[in-house]
Amino acid sequence: MTENKKNQESFEHGDSQNGVKSDVRLIVPPVDIQETAESYILRLDIPGADKKNISAQINDDTLSVSARVDSYFEKDTALFYDNSMPMEYRREFSLANDVDTTAVNALYDLGVLTLTLKKKQQCLPKEIEVM
């Protein structure tokens, strides 16, 4: 389970490459990755999202997470500390060989997206009975 750095960079520098000022703020959400005996648990901070605006996809061995969050204030509000732009959260991960891509569970609660990726059955440690 590693971060897909190559794509990451293109996200972060997306607007400067095009030479066009973007109307969204791109954010790379911080992540915690916890490995348990049977699974990998990813937690990503995506505060303020609506569940239906969050997408998590697996293509081959890449997991992509993205979410769109509306700006916190109306456009013409006088702001002290803030930008009034909508936010786009994006992050990609290269999956380890032992991830079962058919068994992924996603939960969004308190602004945190938790993805649970099960390990393949054949990759789990086995207890061998001594005869």
Binding site: T36, R43, F73, A78, D82, G111, V112
Partner: protein, 148 residues
């Protein structure tokens, strides 16, 4: 004699302290939180403040914090939001492959840009976003004067 070279960290400390002060507040800490030194620091939630015609709104990003663990306090023109982000359970046989999210107590105070009606302050918390709405006092609201 061996002298520990601390010039760089102390400069970073000073810069961080300066940025952390309410004068500079945002958005610098986002950059500095990447430093290992600061990653260990307390949770530093991002704060957004907007002044509107009738009220001041303060929006704080506190994902992963339960409503019961957030305190909003107002006194004499200063709004203080404090709380704690509790770390998830990691059992002995489990391990963290990556840890970018910071857990622990947090507290931020901010001086409001206009006098507000303390009796009518309200706060709501949804999906990791705390929004505090502070209605302005009548006398500071902009008034339209009719020309006769």
């Amino acid at each position: 004699m061996v002298v520990r070279y601390e010039a760089v960290p102390s400069v970073l400390d000073a810069v961080h302290d300066m940025l952390e002060s309410e004068t500079f507040n945002m958005p610098f800490p986002r950059v500095f939180s990447e430093w290992p030194r600061f990653a260990k620091a307390e949770v530093f939630p991002y704060l957004n403040i907007a002044e509107r015609k009738d009220d001041i709104q303060v929006v704080m990003e506190i994902p992963g914090v339960s409503k019961e663990d957030v305190k909003v306090h107002y006194h004499d023109g200063v709004l203080t939001i404090s709380g704690e982000r509790k770390s998830p359970e990691v059992k002995a046989e489990e391990r963290m492959l990556r840890q970018e999210i910071t857990y622990g107590p947090f507290s931020r105070s901010v001086e409001l840009p206009a006098p507000v009606n303390a009796e009518k302050i309200s706060a709501e918390y949804t999906n990791g976003i705390l929004r505090v709405i502070l209605p302005k006092l009548e006398e500071v609201k902009p008034k339209e004067i009719v020309v006769r």
